[in-house]
Homo-oligomer: 375 residues x 2
Amino acid sequence: AKSFKIAVLPGDGIGPEVTDEALKVLQIVASKSADVELKIQSYDFGGCAIDATGEALPAATLQACREADAILMGAIGGPKWGVNSKVRPEQGLLALRKALGLYANIRPASFASDSLLDNSPLKPSIAQGVDIIVVRELIGGAYFGQRKEHSIAPDEDTAWDTMIYSVHEIQRITRVAAQIALSANPPLPIHSIDKANVLASSRLWRKVVTETLQAEYSQLQLDHQLVDSAAMIIVASPKKLNGIVLTENLFGDILSDESSVIPGSLGLLPSASLAGAPALPSSPSFKPTPGLYEPIHGSAPDIAGQGIANPVGTILSAAMLLRYSLGLEKEAKAIEDAVRKVLDNESAGGLGLRTKDLGGDVGTTQMGDKIVEVL
Amino acid sequence: AKSFKIAVLPGDGIGPEVTDEALKVLQIVASKSADVELKIQSYDFGGCAIDATGEALPAATLQACREADAILMGAIGGPKWGVNSKVRPEQGLLALRKALGLYANIRPASFASDSLLDNSPLKPSIAQGVDIIVVRELIGGAYFGQRKEHSIAPDEDTAWDTMIYSVHEIQRITRVAAQIALSANPPLPIHSIDKANVLASSRLWRKVVTETLQAEYSQLQLDHQLVDSAAMIIVASPKKLNGIVLTENLFGDILSDESSVIPGSLGLLPSASLAGAPALPSSPSFKPTPGLYEPIHGSAPDIAGQGIANPVGTILSAAMLLRYSLGLEKEAKAIEDAVRKVLDNESAGGLGLRTKDLGGDVGTTQMGDKIVEVL
Ligand SMILES: CC(C)[C@H](C(=O)O)[C@@H](O)C(=O)O
Ligand SMILES: CC(C)[C@H](C(=O)O)[C@@H](O)C(=O)O
């Protein structure tokens, strides 16, 4: 039997509630497969870790994450540890990404079920069929470049950050994008985003993305969009960016969040942050890759403890975990199918369940239970 | 009579076509006012200037712009002067902004007429009533910070840009935002955008915006949004950002373009770039301010010369020119009212005219003529 270690970081607010449901789903998947064993253990991370240890990312948590085959996270943060606090939950997340080398952030924005179309802020004709996968570089650029705070010499009067990229950093994220593009049939087009008409780092980005794909994946379609133009297209005609949206850290932060509101609720969407190429059956180097998986929503302190959070984003993150880190494509697909079934309208053969964020009154555990039941 | 010099930069593609219509409108406004005289002259700028002189911003054009009370621009650029050309039209625009100290970019996103609601990619319930004015810092940040290209020593392998802000740069743009906020009754709320949970320049931004408003405009409402969150709100519930969206150069580039697709056609929207506080009747220092006015759309080479471009964005830019640079509020308002009348449906007492971008077949000059007629 293949045995995998999963480190769970439930975090703050609704984090523990939604991870509980995803764990139920992972456990049922493992129990149904004779040759997969999951060893699951939880660790403090984020605000709760600050309260318990004074640190957002305690050494024991980091160690467990290093040893795990994959990490499942809930959500972190809350008003208790706001912008003016000395130690903040996000610092733990940035430190964890950097420590584990999680350079590839993967954020799909698509409809888990067509029945959700009405929840989109976009007109149905514009939203229907949107299927964007943002591949964001996660440990470079302005997030990790040198910076200087105000009041520090020289030039006490200014503050600055450096948007910096090396050839190597751009190559490796381009390869991840290419392998995800190739895992679809037909392969997905790649839309690379930059601000090459102004920024030097963007000119390097465009050059390296172009050369890497030409040299190693010449079968893939590539186009380039300026980030301001991409921000317009995502609202006005998002299907033009169907496929892979490949971009650097800061632009990826903005564009992945922008596209994530198209499917109608942040509660629905998963994400993966990988330290290497995903373990895809179609990829040449098909082997497990460490990764951190989390829903894209926050800790929602206002609804924490009420049992009304949507667990679907975390459950779909667990599916990505199985696919990208453990190479269990079949099991990942089964979860995604079960989620679709539970969300689909009755007319489409589904159960039509809706949590509060989608205008319904199904609770967190009830949603998780139904997905387990369908599985 | 007050006499004003207006430098016109028609530019490339549809630029000359749309500026022609705006000039007709300015001329009729001037001819109707006994004490306003406009001296209008055109200069080469952008791609056509590159062809004529080798430079995007010829010295004679820059000189004329310096001497003018205000500048009206069409649009620049085209495939002939693409990313790989040595001299590019955008460089001229960036150089002109810097040379004239045009640090305050003002970009309203609202419906010129409610009859245009159906053209929005957003559902009518979400789009109706959107009224956002983006105030973007235009000559600081990553656009003008120190940068290093790839292949240049040291670290040939990397390229970088610097996002840098000084206290002074943030103070002056905050004051422009405040004065525009105060010109409305009741005053508009200010939503300041940054990425203060990651970037040092954003932490300074947040601090200076907060302190400047507290010290000088404590009557104004202020809140802070992270740029990723703002990018979501603009799609999901844009009315939450009604009022002023105040932000730095790069974030402003992205967010102003993102919000500009809400009103349904880029052809409708104007912009102003100012070298000081606008000349508003409500502002304490009510005096003419130099400024550059342009529609937000590009040069659209694919439809150039066909007489089908929408001149409304340029005509509304001319209205902003009268208001912000010349202090002619009444005349500005008259143009805006005329535009609304021409766009409004017949049921609302308007003419219901639609150019091609809005699904109609009214031509560029016909649209301009009708607006002149109504005036
Ligand atoms: C919490 C914050 C630092 C983080 C980021 O900007 O990367 C978040 O917005 C995200 O996208 O995961
Ligand atoms: C042409 C380009 C340099 C410019 C910018 O990014 O500022 C444009 O996108 C704009 O917003 O006016």
